[in-house]
Amino acid sequence: MWYFQERHIEGGGRSLPGWALQPAVVPIMAEQKKPSKPLSEWAVPVLLGWLLPGGGHFYLKRWNHGALLLFAVAGMFIFGLLMRGRMFEPVTGDLFTTVVNVGGYIGDLATGTLYFLARWLGYDQPQLASAVADYGTKFLVCAGLLNILAMVDAYEIATGEKP
């Protein structure tokens, strides 16, 4: 109810009721918001970083960092495969099922080419009753999540937010 109370503020020389805050406030907020970076600056490194872990860093000539990211993300992904981890499908249902499966699917997808290559070569592991296979599933998802971090890093470097 409080948002209908009339609180008079100064807006462009006129006194406005509180519920009419928007026209006066929005332009101020828009001025404070940082301008978004042009797509052309960051789209290529981020896309390359998704397709090949560390690819965005290679594109930005950060060879050592790209190599380390490739080693870590691909290593985690390969160990996940060797441990017979399961890849998620975007199964929906109740909230828990949806969050786990769609979230896991996004994590798997984030490894880019590694995921598509494994799928294309026929990797389709059913869920095993094994602690190691369970670790493998987590390795596969976390490889994707680490790659998302690498993509964010490539974005920040490309836009000059990070040296």
Binding site: A72, L82, A131, V132, C142, L146
Partner: protein
Amino acid sequence: MFLQLSHLQAALLFALFTSIVLGVVGRNTDRDRVRYGLYVFGYFVVVIVGLGWLMYLGHG
């Protein structure tokens, strides 16, 4: 090929790969990256071993 790792081996491998990525993206200079990566890895190891002991003792 089915890799059979112990819990400890799997957790240490996870810690290694995660620390490398966090080290690379988490700091701005190479020196800080190495230190931060080692720092994160060290914390992983401490937590892994600590939780292992906690579960062992808690289990009775």
